[in-house]
Amino acid sequence: MSELETAAHPEQLCRVAIDPLSRVEGHGKVTLLVDRNHHIRQARLHIVEFRGFEKFIQGRPYWEVPVAVQRLCGICPVSHNLAAAKAVDQLIGVEQLPPAAEKIRRLMHYGQTLQSHAVHFFHLASPDFLFDFDNPIAQRNIGGVMADYPDIARQGVRLRKYGQEVIRITAGKRVHGTGTVPGGVNKALTLQERNYLLTDLELMTQWGRHILKLMKKAYEANPGYFTRFAAIPSNYLSLVRADGALDLYHGGLRTKNDQGDLLFDHLDYRRYSQVIREQVKSWSYMKFPFINSLGPEKGWYRVGPLARINNCDFIPTPVAEEERREFMALNNGQPIHATLAYHWARMIELLYATEAIRELLLDPDIFGDELVTRGEMTREGIGVIEAPRGTLFHHYRIDEDGLIEKANLIVSTTNNNQAMNESIRQVAENYLDGKELTEPLLNQIEVAVRAYDPCLSCATHALGQMPLIVELVEEDSGVMIDCLVRDANGKVRESFVEF
């Protein structure tokens, strides 16, 4: 763990806040403590969200849970809905869904992955690739991309739309749908719906390949930067299918260490509590999970697209598999630790999602009429899924009346908490330390956080009307000797203001 987590003498340092983090889903902030020589002594990513789902879901009937908990997040509601639905399947004693039900849920999930990856890359992060760090703030957003790169923007908008349409048709509604029911789904596809979704699908795959070409170009333009920026060696955790394939809907837990050695493999995810613990730190509402056997110092890990591509043995669709091989060749098959590689891995998964959707749409099972099954009620259910941002755990216990007694959620972004903190500290040390902090430099911190596609919105917090303020305070007297303010337009001016 980096030494920048906690400064020895915070009272003698100036506070710099990047607040709110922008172009991420939800709200968070980064604070830096800097000494008078511009050396950074502390860097923290704070998640200032708190909702209390674990408490207020208590006493609700189990069948209500998937629809309620998806309101944790409007960007990946399907993931929460499905993780909860998988837990509820166990509560009603269902081990295996009918083929139609499982395939429709998978279709919903791959539609979700496609739209979520598209919104993150095109609508939020693409300005980091298409524009320079010091470009005007007004340009660094999807509007700027629409104006300067209309083709790319249009592809992003259409890719996301396609994913949302898959969700609408399988779940009834684009955001917060109601397609799943305990033990299955409430609707199969009609032939007409299937044909509608097939219409544009080939184009989506083509665009997926196209964006990967752009990604590789960006890498080739500056491989050193791409490889080193915010890079941290880490452990990786994800689900994999029984044969080692990438699978976003179901599988066993696999972890690899930074050398690529397996720590555990094909672990039944219902035993997650034996291998994962969560540390609480006073300065963040987001907990810090770690692999129990390694302890909090060494046991933190990364999840999400990079972890999944590093962990899996292969991708079960041909075009994405070709891309995976090319990607993994960057480090001779060993895990890739570059944080910017998250974007690349994410686009490989976007491509994979288009192929997985095609396979499902061409499978006659999706027209099936056996949509629900039931078994013997049990009292505990654990559902785990690979959400767009990583492994998502939902765990519920019910009482004899079927009311929730206890709930535990580890959301995807929480798994990346320590890693995001390590990444911003790496950027602070390598790119900011000793320099006068300017808006473009601070933007680099955000670029590092953004690579993880953090979904802080499960419990949004908005702090942010403050412009960025940097103060220099005399060490002994505590008197402010200088103060810089970054205005909304990005201009940095010297000013003495009340802090």
């Binding site: 902030k29 704070h46 674990e54 702090l463």
Partner: protein
């Protein structure tokens, strides 16, 4: 003569971002929108300080002190303030915590939770103070329009923005008003 584009700011308070997703669900219509409006502070831009705006769209209710500050600032700087979605209108799912004490909710997550190490309730000057209850935004500031739904559909948002921009009375069809 090209008319100046209207300035719109958006923010998500105690919400899930689903209403912002519905805004993005305008799909290709986003290109038309971009010609007529300019985004000021929003999770979609890097503008961190709110400027003077014509319209402010607020997603989410109010659950902590910072939400209150942001909301009041939006009210002060936006000529028209719009509550979007269930949470802004009536607190929504986050307001389900109102049946419990805040302390109970915090303890459930950080003290009594499963598999915890260093169990403690987070407390730091960088973490904003939570309010005892989650409130709809009309309890804090005056709201000019409310769009219900969890979230309101993109069509609803489109009709609303279109008619607002063209200065017409806003008429939403039956299908465009729903509460789920």
């Amino acid at each position: 003569m090209i008319e100046p584009r209207l300035k719109i700011a958006t923010c998500s308070l105690a919400g899930c971002f689903g209403c912002h997703m519905s805004l993005l669900d305008l799909d290709e219509r986003l290109f038309d929108l971009a010609e007529r409006v300019e985004l000021d502070r929003s999770p979609l831009t890097d503008i961190k300080e709110l400027g003077e705006c014509d319209v402010g769209l607020i997603e989410g209710g109010v659950c902590n002190a910072e939400n209150v500050h942001v909301l009041m600032e939006f009210r002060a700087r936006c000529k028209i303030l719009v509550a979007i979605g269930a949470c802004a209108l009536n607190g929504g799912v986050p307001a389900m915590r109102n049946q419990y004490d805040l302390k109970e909710c915090l303890e459930e997550s950080y003290v009594r939770g499963m598999g915890l190490v260093n169990a403690q309730i987070p407390s730091d000057p960088e973490i904003p103070l939570l309010l005892n209850k989650v409130h709809p935004i009309h309890e804090v500031v005056k709201i000019d329009y409310s769009l219900p739904g969890c979230p309101p559909s993109a069509d609803t948002i489109w009709t609303f923005i279109n008619e607002l921009l063209s200065g017409q009375a806003i008429v939403l069809s039956y299908r465009q008003i729903h509460y789920d």
